[in-house]
């Protein structure tokens, strides 16, 4: 009786993969092609841990936490809590400091609560680092990889400031918070923009963080839909406040950070890497300050990573590219679940 019931219930359960056999064959072929691309360039494939004592300080990334079961080795809370990596960035930079000059990794990364057409909490990232490369040299290499994977024969390159000048006749670095709020006047975004503005005026959120929030809202609503429609669009020189782990340019106003947009998809994010341990520590502390403002948990600084920077990181550039999105673009798929064996809801 019970087994009949389960047999019936299981018939209703969708256990089948989201991606077709054809898609998964092409996915495998693309992965093989990417590995050949890096082999030819003498870039070494590495595997760093998925599970780590530390998570990134980025206030807008939520890691998945793993609690080790009771054991003698895991008596203290610190020894019990681990994080699934949101990207292999810190570990790969430790490898660079240890003397590996050109490395790449294709690994699973995890970000909690990121679910949508282009997001799955567990996803595959392609991340690579090139010693001696500046931002432009790495952009050129990304463009070559896209040519190989997506058969694109051209691309555009534009700065963040140029985009805001074209779309809003505005210098994003100089614009006041109020000016940005006034630009968010359309019905669909006004209330959201006001919330950010109010958080800043009542002192809950720093002015800089509020400005970034509004700039990102304007960028996503009015600029992103119009760039990279025909050919990949590479946006460079983000405001210093959005530099993340990138070096600043000589003016100190812009981060040497780039993003690749193509067909409404944000495909890759790269940096000419910050190598100064002292500045890195300050940015971590600033992230924690923003986390405090947002009511998010503080992150312990990853001292092993900072020690590696103190030892010395070669001057280098690195980029992280969403593999699942690359496969979506390559095969013209509109939802990430079409290129995964089993998406989060089916896993």
């Amino acid at each position: 009786m019970a087994s009949t019931y389960h047999a019936h219930k299981n018939k209703l359960l969708n256990w089948q993969p989201g991606a077709s056999i054809e898609t998964l064959r092409k996915r495998a072929a693309l992965l093989a092609e990417i590995r050949r691309f890096f082999q030819k360039r003498n870039v070494l494939e590495l595997e760093t841990p998925c599970l780590s004592r530390h998570s990134v300080s980025d206030p807008f990334l939520d890691p998945l936490t793993v609690i080790r079961s009771e054991s003698e080795q895991a008596e203290t809370k610190e020894n019990k809590t681990f994080y699934l990596q949101t990207s292999p960035e810190y570990a790969m930079k430790r490898m660079l400091a240890a003397g590996f000059s050109d490395i790449f990794q294709i690994s699973k990364c995890f970000r909690d609560d990121e679910i949508g057409r282009y997001h799955n909490p567990e996803f595959t990232m392609l991340e690579w680092y090139r010693s001696g490369f500046d931002m432009q040299a790495l952009i050129d290499e990304v463009v070559e990889l896209l040519r190989l994977c997506l058969k694109t024969d051209s691309h555009q390159q534009v700065t963040y400031t140029q985009l805001f000048q074209t779309h809003f006749e505005l210098e994003p670095n100089r614009a006041s918070l109020k000016t940005l709020l006034d630009l968010c006047c359309a019905d669909n975004i006004r209330d959201y923009a006001k919330l950010i503005y109010q958080d800043s005026t009542c002192g809950k959120l720093s002015k800089e963080a509020a400005k970034d929030g509004l700039l990102q809202l304007l960028f996503n609503t009015y600029i992103e839909p119009y760039i990279g429609a025909e050919a990949p669009c590479i946006v460079t020189h983000f405001p210093a406040s959005q530099a993340a782990l990138a070096k600043l340019d000589d003016s100190g106003q812009f981060g040497l950070r780039f993003e690749v947009y193509y067909k409404q998809i944000e495909l890759a994010n790269g940096f000419e890497e910050l190598t100064c341990a002292k500045t890195q520590r300050m940015r971590f502390e600033k992230d924690n300050e923003l986390r405090r403002q947002l009511g998010k948990p503080q992150r312990d600084l990853d001292e092993r990573f900072l020690a590696a920077l103190e030892h010395g990181l070669p001057s280098c550039a690195g980029v992280a590219l969403g593999m699942d999105r690359l496969i979506m673009l390559s095969l013209g798929k509109s939802h990430i679940q079409e290129v995964l064996t089993f998406d989060f809801n089916q896993a």
Binding site: D187, N188, D191, G213, Q242, A244
Partner: protein, 189 residues
């Protein structure tokens, strides 16, 4: 009523937005490269029927709306209210002109309609997809005409006006698609 977080938003969920019951049509998760995630949500306001887009912080919660659909048979109108009855419990509910709206012209006695109730009161009345109504007035068509051509206007017993083929005559009962307001066929007797 329970609260729903943006990651629980999916098509069909009924929530309160700006003090009005709304139905979620679409929910898109947006995460800027290095910034706070938000959700772009398309909603339909259930009272006005207006469709609009709103942006929410990811993880933000909104209150659920006490909205339910119930199937009731249409009885009659007294001019001010349209009366419906639950065929099982015989309980009656009256809907006002605001709730019935343009759909008044598709209400046929004993037809089972869907009433959308908000806090127990009707805010929308959806007639069946197909209703059968008698033609009370239409010009006589030309003899021998079959389907096709432009047709002619016909007034139905409820006051609704639809275009019908020329061969359909006054006094006949026809089947109409209430979603498009278009003639489907002569009623099967």
């Amino acid at each position: 009523m329970a609260n729903f977080s943006t990651n629980e938003f999916k098509a069909g969920l009924k929530v309160m937005i700006d003090g009005e019951p709304c139905s979620i049509l679409e929910n898109e998760y947006v995460k800027p490269g290095k910034g706070q995630a938000f959700n772009r949500v398309r909603i339909r306001k259930l009272i006005s029927g207006k469709v609009l887009e709103k942006t929410f912080r990811s993880g933000e919660s909104v209150e659920g709306a006490d909205v339910m659909d119930t199937d009731l048979a249409y009885l009659y109108t007294d001019g001010e209210f349209w009366h419906f009855m639950n065929n099982e419990t015989f309980e009656q509910i009256a809907a006002d002109a605001k709730a019935v709206g343009d759909n008044a012209k598709w209400l046929v006695e004993n037809d089972v309609c869907t009433l959308t109730l908000f806090n127990g009161s009707p805010i929308a009345v959806t007639p069946p997809n197909f209703v059968e109504l008698e033609i009370t007035e239409t010009d006589p068509g030309l003899k021998g005409d079959t389907a096709g051509t432009g047709g002619k206007p016909a007034t139905l017993s409820t006051g609704a006006v639809v275009r019908v083929p020329l061969f359909v005559q006054q006094g006949e009962v026809i089947k109409v698609d209430t979603r498009s307001g278009e003639y489907v066929s002569r009623a099967q007797k």
